[in-house]
Amino acid sequence: MSTLVIAEHDNSTLNGATLNAVTAAQALGADIDILVAGADCAAVGEQAAAVAGVNKVLVADNAAYGHQLAENLALLIAEVGAAYDNVVAPATTNGKNTMPRVAALLDVAQISDILSVESADTFKRPIYAGNVIATVQSADAKKVITVRTTAFDPAAPEGGSASIEAVSSAHDAGISEFVGEELAKSDRPELTAASVVISGGRGMQNGENFKLLDGIADKLGAAIGASRAAVDAGFVPNDMQVGQTGKIVAPDLYIAVGISGAIQHLAGMKDSKVIVAINKDEDAPIFQVADYGLVADLFEALPELEGKL
């Protein structure tokens, strides 16, 4: 039995989501190799080789993989993955983009967003915005899996000593090209990796008011998130959205400010250890999942909270 984990990275740094995927792969009970596909990505290969519990790291260094274009990457992963029993990736936007293409090329189902490994062929995964957890069994000889990273602890990033091998396969499908990107720059922790998250919703009223969250986030070392309503209204950019179709977070402390608590938002944060809700509507559904609810006007509560932390 062998499992191939697809590394998430930006050609220089291994993304932490890979470590959660390695832990999920360990639960499958097979030897683990990691595939690093990118351009000038040797440093990522070395970081992957240091991850505890990894047998071998395969590095496919080619310009065609530099921007993680699914059309090229899927051809590579399907080729390399043919020798493995399982192909596993974190359910990041890259994983979600590429892995179904891999599954289709291999003519197998994909098991999306797994929460647990029950046995080598049986998994739990959320359906209906996480209101139902399904246990599914795969009949395919080869499993293509994406992993909900918040459901698995990260593997230790140090302590391993995997061998590194170059993969020479160059697949350029020639049907897509990277044009550009606008990536948010922030000194704050990444939303999906932060131990504290403070999110604003429609109740924030405008983008300017999100600054009220800054001081609290600074004091708590928190990442700042938002509900779909706040993103749709243009208060903040899309990469801040927490929810069924945005980012899934499970920090130690989640503070929801001016968020009513639609089921689609709850799907993205209800596995947080402690949930605080601040909302002036005492009937808001968010209070049904909050450990501590404060019925208050956020424009008064936030400055007071910042002052008292």
């Binding site: 921007h67 274009l69 699914a70 990041t92 936007t93 979600k96 179904p100 293409r101 599954a103 289709a104 090329l105 189902a109 994909q110 098991i111 999306s112 359906i127 209906y128 915005a129 209101n131 139902v132 957890i133 246990t135 599914v136 069994q137 795969s138 009949a139 020639g174 049907i175 897509s176 090209e177 990277f178 550009g180 990107e181 606008e182 990536l183 948010a184 999906t192 504290v196 950019p237 899309n238 990469d239 179709t245 980012k247 402390l253 089921i263 209800k270 250890k273 402690v274 949930i275 605080v276 999942v289 909050a290 450990d291 501590y292 609810g293 404060l294 019925v295 509560a301 007071e304 932390l309």
Partner: protein, 249 residues
């Protein structure tokens, strides 16, 4: 150019779905069904391309039981020109849906196929990408902007770090994210007109596809419930609880 849009019949997004007590399946008795919200955005985008003179015809396809014709008619009322139902029974997995859609793509030869990025029942987020692999087409998933330019389409995608723009050779696949557009409401005259629009029905065999199951759903269960919390009376009490009871700050 011809645009093909795939739509799915799902439980309305306002319904809170529950597992049956015996864990055999979800309880869908008497729940309101609707067009999957992401698919509705896909229909709207295709109709806007037609209104802008970019698309010449919008064909809408759905895979499912006869009842999904209701959602095809909804798409026709929103402005699609004709419909195709691929008639199947029971739940059909994304890989099979992708194979069926590939069959429709071969028949219809669209330049652009627009799908929702995921359906809100299975939350799989697979079908568009799988169709891309099977039909060897490029894909712009999680789209927040689509611009057709000659024999290519530029797609701005919502990704973890922000936005990414890719350029795809046509024919290509687009899967929609929430902010691509705001779907219109169908007007009564258009709902009436939609009833007369052409709707063809194919079987999987017509498309040369064997409907096969790769996954078995063994059981369903509700997620772990959170214990009901408490209301605090003041910011002081909140800070005290977080420090001394929850010990998270």
């Amino acid at each position: 150019m011809k645009v093909l849009v795939a739509v799915k019949r799902v439980v309305d997004y306002n319904v809170k779905v529950r597992a049956k007590a015996d864990g055999s399946d979800v309880d869908l008795n008497n729940v309101k069904m609707a067009i999957n919200p992401f698919c509705e955005i896909a229909v709207e985008e295709a109709v806007r391309l037609k209104e802008a003179g970019v698309a010449s015809e919008v064909v809408v396809v759905s895979v499912g039981e006869k009842s999904c014709q209701e959602q095809i008619r909804t798409a026709l009322a929103l402005g699609a020109d004709r419909g195709i139902q691929v008639e199947t029974e029971g739940a059909v997995e994304p890989l099979v849906v992708a194979k069926l859609l590939k069959g429709v793509v071969e028949k219809e030869q669209p330049q652009l196929v627009i799908l929702g990025k995921q359906s809100i029942d299975g939350d799989n987020n697979q079908t568009g990408q799988m169709l891309g692999a099977l039909a060897n087409m490029a894909q712009g998933t999680f789209a927040s902007e689509v611009k057709v330019d000659g024999d290519a389409v530029s797609v701005t995608r919502e990704v973890d770090g922000g936005l990414q723009t890719v350029k795809l050779k046509l024919p290509a696949i687009v899967t929609t994210d929430l902010r691509l557009n705001e779907p219109r409401y169908a007007s009564l005259p258009n709902i009436m007109k939609a009833k007369k629009k052409q709707l063809d029905v194919f079987s999987p065999a017509d498309l040369g596809v064997e409907v096969k199951s790769h996954l078995t759903q063994l059981r369903v269960e509700p997620p772990a419930e959170r214990q009901a919390g408490i209301k605090v009376a003041s910011v002081d009490e909140l800070v005290d609880k977080l420090k001394n009871e929850a010990k998270v700050i």
